[in-house]
Every structure is written in structure tokens, then in C-alpha cells.
Amino acid sequence: MDKKFVTLTIDDQKVKVEKGTTILQAAKQAGIDIPTLCFLKEINEVGDCRMCIVEVEGRRGFATSCIQKVEEGMVVHTNTPNVMEARHTILDLIISNHAKDCLTCTRSGNCELQALATKFNISKIEFEGERAEHKVDDLSPSLVRDFNKCILCRRCVATCKNVQKIGAIDCINRGFDSCISTVGDLSLNDVNCTFCGQCIEACPTGALHEKETIDELWVKLKDPDAVVLVQTAPAVRVGLGEEFGMPIGTNVTKKMVTALKRLGFDKVFDTNTGADLTIMEEASEFVERFSENDNLPMLTSCCPAWIKFIESYYPELLPNLSSCKSPHQMFGAILKTYYAKKEEIDPEKIYTVSVMPCTAKKFERTRQEMKNKELLDVDNVITTRELARMIKQANIDFNKLEDSEFDDPMGEATGAGAIFGTTGGVMEAALRTAQDKLTGKDLEKIDFEQVRGGDGIKRATVNIAGKDVKIVVASGLANARTILDEIKSGKADYQFVEIMACPGGCVMGGGQPIKSSKTISDVDVRKLRADSLYSIDEKSTVRKSHESPVMKKLYEEFLEEPGSYRAHKLLHTHYNKRDKYKLDEKQN
């Protein structure tokens, strides 16, 4: 007998699967679908919702197929009348306590509960009853919590607590009064939430979504006096197409540019250019700090959720952060100064919009530091999903759009800028520039395979100009914690650290198209999107930021040199220790 494999019967089919497989996985391998709701591969495998129940011969009660492992000779039935009635009842009960406003819900069409209701052909609710009414929390600039749509699957809790090790939300109260909330039911704005938005990606329904800012954008787009400039982050172009039924990771850069123009934006720019600018500043900052052994390791600073995290949890390491603003903030500042002057536009009339794969960027743009002469660098941040929503609202047939190019003069970005959208990308882009600067040569070896791939933590040592540079790339805040603890305790002596809050980096950001639990189980979404970015990089004519003609011109005409007074004023920032919570003790 083969010890590594187990043979069992599922719905009269003999199935041979690896030992340790769950009944759910085994059924999938046999082509049998078992419905799930609370299941999220490797993140939430708890069996709470009970949708995945099956009958196992000889066992009392149902088995929880998402958790229970197969056993030799097991006989499983996934769709007996008993199972089906129980599933229907469970689904009925869940919907009976759900705010059924699907017509106006942001998740309509991409909701796992709605999909199951359709699949099970639910046409009426048999067990209607009291529904828990909850106030919607929309006080934060990034996230909205609407518990009226929550089905208590706890995927968000597991993500926040285990994947990100933040635990801003948890299950509170008990029984029918159970709900997912924060301490004291405070707004997410007043707790330790980093606004990374990973909870949204985990949510099967519309209980969690970004704070939408489309309405004010439409107003600006209609305003003839406003000059509405838009920039799009690298990860957006490899996610947007999914909202229009294209394969995961499809590069839709040129259709996206056309769509943005159709929506009425005056100019469409590429945040990759902002990323090039970030590299110019950050690489030179690193070279300086590395040479002088000052405040090492240097920590990257382009991820706003990560910034909020370190400000709250590791304020003692703030001096190690790079002082660079994030690419879109830098770019916003440049648009309202250099570009405005060049194009002779009154900066007051410019309305800068960033399309981001991120929810934390909505918060970032409101930070006190992110302005110049009282003018905000960025006036509006919308997510990839919101852009898709706008395109749909405008009744644009995205799939049929012709191609167009980003607008000059900030148009052509390097491949280094493109890979900013994936974990390891910032590090690789920075190393390309740093090694040239340190050696004074134009090096050809520019692919840093050590920092690519989906691992949460990637450690490497690279040799630059005869010196070993210890680098580490971490994505996901739990991994960030591991690295920071190593640094704090003196266990590690890194020189350069890249951290992204979202596991996998921006391609998996909290503002990206939401994939169902089933898709996540079957497909490596991160890889598909990241590969698409690497292929953009590969095809780029220029792949080092400091060789970008746009950069050269920008520094020549305006910024002088990296780290100059003007660069500092516009492109750099500072950080402050932040309280994790704003607890209100007034009630006492």
C-alpha cells in the first residue's frame, strides 16, 4: 500500500489523493464542487459557516469538509437530500440576517454570498427574523465597515490578525449579538488599523470596502475650470482588466490610458515616472547613508500602510526610514510645481488624481506632511476597483478600447518603475541605480533574482563595488514585524530593507480587484500579476531610473540633483510616533 496516498470514495467516485488532503480538496480533484463561504485557503480554515458540510458514512453528524482530512476507505457523500436541506437552511439563515441591498452594493456581481444564492436558486427567505442593525463606520479616509452585510465568516479577522498581525478587528460579543468590530466599537480611524485593505480582499460580501471618492471626482471632471491630472500606479495596469473579464494579470496599460482620456481627464500620466523619481532620491539617500554608515539599515518608505504601522509599533526605528515620499506623492508635488510652471497652469486649478491598487494611499494623501504651500500633492486617490466602476458608469466597453500612450512630458517611465508594483521591486530598482552610482559604471547585471518571487521574507547579500550589502525584502506586516524585531534585537545587520504591507506587494494591494476564495485556492494571483510587471520591465527600453530621459530633464530643468534643497522640500518628508488607539474615556 502506498503510504503517501489515500484512496476514498466521493459521490461514488474512487479518488486517490495525497495523505493530509482535506475532503474539500479531494472533492475538487475529483471535479466535485462543494460550496464554501468562510473558507480562505491557508488563512481561514475554521469551518464556521457550515456550508461545506458533507456526509461521511459511519460518522454521526456532518463532517466539515474544509478542515477534515481524508482517511483510507472513507466514503463521502456531498449532495444527499440531508446535506442539501441543511445547506439550504444555513444559506437561508445567513441571508435572513443580511442587508439584501444587492442592487446598490459595490460587490454586486462579485459577491460570494450572492453567487451562492444564485446557485442555490434562493427565491424567498424561509426563516426571516430580527436582523442586527449596525451603524456604518465610514469615518476613516480609507475603509468603510458595514456590518449589516457581514456574514461573520471571519476571513477579515484572520487576515488582519494572523497575516498582518495587527488585530484591529476581532469578533466581539457572543451568540446572535456577535459581530466583527474594533475595541469599543471605535471607528477604524481611531484604532491600530493601517488601512492596508487586506480585509477587503478577504471579505466575501460588501461588508468591507474602500471609502469611495468617485462622486467628487465626477464633479471635478465636469468642471471646465479644473485641470484634472491623473496618474496610475504600476500594479493597476495588471489588475484592471480582471474587472472586465480578462485573464488575471493581463497588462491593459494602453486601454486604461484610453479609458482615462474618455472619462475626461485632461492628462494621463504614469506613476512609474514617480517611481523613477523615488529611485533617484532613495538610491542616492541609500548611497549616502551606506557610505557614511548612518542610520542603517535604511528602510523603504513608499508604502503608506507600512509607514502607519512603524509609526505606531516601532517608533524607535523611525530614523531608519528613508525620508522619501512615496512615488505618487512625489509625482503629485512635481505636477503642481514643475509641470504647472512648464505648462503655465495655475497650480490652484490643478486637481491631481492617483489611481492606486491601495486603500492606505487614500489616508496618505491626507497626511499633514503631504502638501506644499498648503496645496495638497494629491487631491484624490481612487482604487483600481473604483476606476473600473467609473468606466462602467460611463458605459465604456473596455475590452473594445483602442490603445493610447501616456501623455508627455512625463510619459515614458523605465522598467525599474514598473516593478515597484511587486514585492522586491523597489529593492531591485534601487539596487540598479545604487550599484551604478557606487561603482560609477553602467552595469549590465540588473536582474536581482534573489528578491523576486512570492516568499514573504527574502534575504540576500549583494556585492556592490566590492562591498557586501545585506538586504532583505519583506511583504505582509507579520513579516515586517519579524524583520523589525531582528533589527531591534540586534540579531540582524541589514543595510537595506524593503517592506510592503500587503503580502506580495502592491499587485495584491487592498485596492485591487477582489478574487473569490475559490480563485485564490486555484490560482497564484500574485504571480500572474507580478509576472506581467516583470515582462513590462523586460520589454522596456530603459530599465534603470537614472538613465530615464524624463528624469534627466527633470533634474536638469528643475530639481538640480537628488537630495537638493528643492528636492527635499518637495519630495521628502518626516515621520512621527503615533498612538495606536484613540480611546475615549469620557464615558466614565
Partner: protein, 618 residues
């Protein structure tokens, strides 16, 4: 630290000294006044009684009389209880003011205090405990020491063969021998489901792991059940001893007792017992000179019924919300912190030492074919002798309710008995003669549960009763899985609708459908058994449900919304008592007139019903 020899010596000396506690014929000039210090008696001032006795004895310079604090005697309805040994005189409902008289009359003059003697159901005064019908059919194994020894004195426990079983196990038996004995005794878990204890030990022993745990589930949560508390309060060492034996068998060195914080007396006595056992070297390193180490920690529950479920209990010990885990894996495979863990409840443990000392055959000779030994029930509700009773398995419900419990008070009729608390069901009149054991109870739609046994008379509405239990389940559901979280709530809503007089026949169908699906698909025992009270009342009292939804009446008049209270002209004697008690002057009539209830004014409070001496109102 005591050597085995020293322990043996304590046992021998103490046993002689305490012989009068169990032997009425003891030839001694000493007397022991035992004052019950269970929770019931404590709350009716038994500590004050104890103090008074001691004070008076001192004032009067009386020697040879000791006043002892004991655990529960069981007959809580008669508390506070004082028993004087060796003559075994039973004084009921004693107040602190009675102490003087007891000392003077009983101790000094050698006569019984007639007015305080306990009365049996038929009104006869009994002078000794054994004469009470309440005790006649009982057999005390788990409660053996309750009411006999001072639970705060380890020497008294040792005197009655305490820690002898542990010594036997460590010195003479292998773990397999012990497990074999437990298996052969037929002991099954007393916490509810009745899993064979020996089997559980065997499975936990067989699980691989260098760290294992023994846990005592003392989170007695069934409303109306208090046998575990009584054992912890009256004989805490019996639990510690059994846990040590279990640890020896499965290879654990650490134990936890998870006990409700609502049981402060039990917690205190456990703490005292653990400290005493440590002082004597019975807990700690190298117990009895062997290489067996074992220690116990107390963990307090914080008010969540679901923590009585074993995996929820483990979650709670680990410091989290008491949300059950999906099984398998069972705790025997992966329990506390993922390590193999043995969990038994208090009453189960309380049987262990007795089985080891008296043998598997002795134990298995008691009880029925598949349920061996005794079971402790907390008898409550509409029954005369409310209290704790321990009977052999197989005793009939009729014996418990009528012979031991003394029947139904106020001339009312027996309607049903509820066992198993919110997880159990109702047993109607026609099953009064069923011998009670795990299987028979299940067969008639109830379950053993932890041992609550609530008697209901004919003034109880069975739909309301089902609603009561569902209210309990809804407020105690942990909220983890859908069927229990939302399903029980929906069941409760349907029951509320029916009790409000708004139900339809479709609602009965809905109840049944919900019940069946919640039972099958919930994660843990709480959810799986939550529908039981509805299912069993529907089974035996379906007619009452139908009356509620079709005729819109509640025969027990408990469902106020549809109740119409009237006076039966034939029975009414015109005494006017109902009129006097009515809070809203809704009753008309003068002199010896038959009374009439003004339905417009009546608020259906039911005061007149209880005040009528002729049962003429209904």
C-alpha cells in the same frame, strides 16, 4: 512533606477519631456537631450557626464536643442542616438563634429538640438521617464524603481512605492495569454524553506526545445542576486524587481544573486542598517516592455556558473566547496547546478512587447493563424534597420524584420532568417508570446531561418551557457557527410568536425543520443539542403546541397574551381571597358570591390562581 509511613499513621489515628461520623454505635463520649456549608446552607447563615455553636460551647466550658464544617448533605430544601453524631440526629431549617437550645437540650440534657427535627413528607418527625425517605433509596459513592468530612482538612479525607487509591496505583499497578480496571468498571463520563471513561484514558495514553495534560471540567453550567459544585465543596481531594491517577495513567505531569468563578466556595476549598496536598507531597515532584510528578492549577471560568463543551473549555484555558473547535481532532489527540489532553468532569473523577479501592466488579455490579454505578441528580422544580440525590443507574424516575423527592407540592399533578438541562428533553408521565440510564433517556428523547432533574407540575406550559430553554441557548451560544448563531435565534422567535398567540401550523413545521438542521450541522454539542427541548416537547406535548396555534389557548395559562382567566363556578366557594389579592381590582362579587373576573381589567398576572385554595380559577 509527609512520608508514606506518616500518611498511614495519620489515616489510622484519624480514622479512629472520626469513627463516630459513620458509626452510630461508636463507643465514645465525644460528639460532633456537623454544620452544612454547601452554598445553599451557607447563604442561609450556616457560618453564623457554626460560630454560635463554638461560642456557646466555650462559654459553657463543654469539652468533647466539636463543631465541624462539612459539605452538602443533599437535602437543600431543609437547610440550614445540622447533624449531631454519632447519634445521627438531623435538625432542619436551623437558625443561629437555635444553637443555644440545641446545646442545652441535646448536648447537655441528652434530649432531642423536637421542634427542629426534620419532618418527612408524611409529616412524621425523624430523629436520624437514615430514617428519611429522601435518603433511603440513595447510594452514595461520588458523594460518599460529602457531609461526612471537613473538606478543608486533608487529614479527614485521608482518614476515610483518601489517597490510598493513588498509592495503590503508583506502587502496585501499571497505567495499563489502572485503565483496565476503569474500563471494566463500566464507568462512563458523567458530564453528559456518557463516553466510556476507560476508553478515553486509553486513547489519551495512546496519543503520542511528550507533554500531555489532565483537565477537570468543573464548569458546571446547566441551570439547575449543582452536583459538581457540591463535590468540590464537600470533597475536593477526591477530585485531586483522581486527576493524579489519571495523569499517572496517560503520562501527564500537569493538570488544570476549570471551575466557574460563580462558585467562590468551591474555588476556595479547591485552593486549600491543592495547597494541603502540596504540603504533604501528594502533589509535586516524586510523589510517594516514585518518579511521578504532578501538579494542578485552577483556572476560573468567567460566565460562559459554552465553556462546559470540552474544546471551548480548552480555548478558554488558553485565554481566548470560548469558541469550540471542530472535531476531530479530539482533545485526546490534540487538546491544550495542541497536546494530548484528557478531560473528565468532576463527578466522573469522584468515582475513580472508589473503583480502584473496591474493584471493577464492585462498581459494575451497580447499575444497568450499559450504565454502571450511580448518578448524582440535582432534583429541583415542583417537588417537595429539593436537593442532591445519588442513585444507582436504573432507578426509575418515579422513584426519584415520588419516593426520594416526596412528590409534587400543593396538591398539583406531575406533568413532566426535564433532564439534561438546555441540551435535554422533557419526560412525560407515561415514562415515569423508565429505569434511568444513558440509553433509556436517549430513547425517550432526553439525555442524562450533567444531572439536572427539574420536575414540573401541571401549571407549566410546555411551549413556554421550550421557549425558556431556547432563550438560554440563544444567550449562551458562542456565535461561531451559523446554525447555532442564527438558527436558534430563529427558533426562539417562532416560539415567541406562538406564545404570543400569533403562531400558525406552519410555524410548527418551521420549528421542526430548523431543529433537525441545527442538530445536524452545528459545530459543537451546544448547538447540536439546542433543539432538544423543542423536539421532545413537540414529541410528547404536540397537542399543547396545536392548542397554541389553532385554538390560541394555553392550557397552563402561562402564555399571558392568550390567557383568559375565569372562575370555575362549581369549585368557587366565595371566600374572596382572590379578590383580596388581585392587584388591579378585576374581580367582582360580595360576601359568599361566586366571584367573576372582569376580563377588561384583568392583567393576567396569575395572582388569583395561586391564591385560590380550591383551585377554582383557571
Amino acid at each position: 512533606m509527609k512520608t508514606l509511613e506518616e500518611l498511614h499513621k495519620i489515616r489510622e489515628e484519624k480514622r479512629n477519631e472520626l469513627d463516630l461520623r459513620v458509626n452510630t454505635k461508636t463507643d465514645t463520649r465525644e460528639k460532633h456537631i456537623l454544620v452544612c456549608h454547601g452554598t445553599g446552607c451557607t447563604s442561609s447563615k450556616s457560618p453564623e450557626i457554626l460560630e454560635n455553636f463554638r461560642k456557646i460551647l466555650k462559654e459553657k466550658n463543654i469539652e468533647n464536643v466539636r463543631v465541624i464544617k462539612t459539605g452538602c448533605f443533599g437535602l437543600c430544601a431543609k437547610g440550614p442542616i445540622v447533624i449531631i453524631r454519632p447519634e445521627d440526629t438531623f435538625y432542619a431549617n436551623v437558625t443561629p438563634n437555635d444553637c443555644e437550645e440545641i446545646i442545652q437540650t441535646h448536648i447537655i440534657e441528652g434530649k432531642n429538640v423536637e421542634r427542629l427535627l426534620c419532618k418527612d413528607i408524611d409529616g412524621t418527625k425523624v430523629s436520624s438521617l437514615d430514617e428519611l425517605s429522601f435518603y433511603k433509596k440513595q447510594k452514595r459513592i461520588a458523594l460518599k464524603n460529602c457531609g461526612v468530612i471537613n473538606p478543608e482538612n486533608i487529614d479527614e479525607y485521608i482518614a476515610f481512605d483518601g489517597y490510598k487509591a493513588l498509592e495503590k496505583c503508583l506502587k502496585e499497578l501499571t497505567p495499563d492495569d489502572v485503565i483496565k480496571t476503569i474500563s471494566e468498571s463500566g464507568l462512563r463520563g458523567r458530564g453528559g454524553a456518557g463516553f466510556p471513561t476507560g476508553k478515553k484514558w486509553e486513547l489519551t495514553k495512546a496519543s503520542e506526545g511528550n507533554q500531555k495534560y489532565v483537565v477537570c471540567n468543573a464548569d458546571e453550567g446547566d441551570p439547575g445542576a449543582f452536583m459538581d459544585r457540591s463535590i468540590l465543596e464537600g470533597d475536593p481531594h477526591s477530585v485531586l486524587e483522581a486527576m493524579a491517577i489519571a495523569a499517572y495513567c496517560i503520562g501527564a505531569n500537569k493538570g488544570y481544573i476549570y471551575v466557574r468563578a460563580e462558585y467562590p466556595i468551591a474555588v476556595k476549598r479547591l485552593e486549600i486542598a491543592i495547597n494541603q496536598a502540596r504540603d504533604y507531597g501528594i502533589l509535586g515532584k516524586n510523589i510517594f517516592g516514585t518518579n511521578f510528578d504532578f501538579d494542578i492549577e485552577i483556572r476560573l471560568g468567567a460566565g460562559a455556558f459554552v465553556c462546559g463543551e470540552e474544546t471551548a473549555l480548552l480555548e478558554s484555558i488558553e485565554g481566548r473566547r470560548g469558541q469550540p473547535r471542530v472535531k476531530p481532532p479530539y482533545p485526546a489527540q490534540a487538546g491544550l496547546w495542541g497536546k494530548p489532553t484528557l478531560i473528565n468532569n468532576v463527578e466522573t473523577y469522584a468515582n475513580i478512587a472508589q473503583i480502584i479501592l473496591n474493584g471493577a466488579q464492585w462498581y459494575s455490579s451497580i447499575g444497568t447493563a450499559n450504565s454502571k454505578g450511580t448518578k448524582v441528580f440535582a432534583l429541583g422544580g415542583n417537588v417537595n424534597n429539593i436537593g442532591l440525590v445519588e442513585v444507582p443507574m436504573g432507578t426509575t424516575l418515579r422513584e426519584i420524584v415520588f419516593d426520594i423527592g416526596g412528590g409534587i407540592p400543593n396538591g398539583r399533578e406531575f406533568k413532566a420532568a426535564q433532564t439534561g438541562g438546555p441540551s435535554g428533553g422533557c419526560i412525560p408521565k407515561e415514562h415515569l417508570d423508565t429505569p434511568i440510564d444513558y440509553e433509556s433517556l436517549k430513547e425517550i428523547g432526553s439525555m442524562m446531561g450533567s444531572g439536572g432533574l427539574i420536575v414540573m407540575d401541571d401549571t407549566k406550559c410546555m411551549v413556554s418551557l421550550a421557549k425558556f430553554y431556547l432563550e438560554f441557548t440563544v444567550s449562551e451560544s458562542c456565535g461561531k457557527c451559523t446554525p447555532c448563531r442564527i438558527g436558534t435565534k430563529r427558533m426562539l422567535e417562532v416560539l415567541q410568536k406562538i406564545c404570543n398567540g400569533d403562531g400558525t401550523e406552519l410555524d410548527i413545521y418551521k420549528l421542526e425543520k430548523l431543529a433537525a438542521n441545527i442538530q445536524k450541522s452545528s459545530i459543537c454539542g451546544l448547538g447540536q443539542s439546542a433543539p432538544n427541548p423543542v423536539i421532545s416537547t413537540l414529541k410528547y406535548f404536540r397537542e399543547e403546541y396545536r392548542e397554541h396555534v389553532v385554538a390560541k389557548t394555553c392550557r397552563a395559562l402561562e402564555c399571558k397574551a392568550m390567557a383568559k382567566i375565569t372562575v370555575n363556578e362549581e369549585k368557587c366557594k366565595g371566600c374572596g381571597l382572590c379578590q383580596k389579592h388581585c392587584p388591579v381590582d378585576a374581580i367582582r362579587g360580595e360576601g359568599r358570591d361566586k366571584r367573576v373576573i372582569d376580563q377588561d381589567k384583568c392583567i393576567k398576572c396569575g395572582t388569583c390562581l395561586t391564591s385560590c385554595p380550591f383551585h377554582a380559577i383557571g
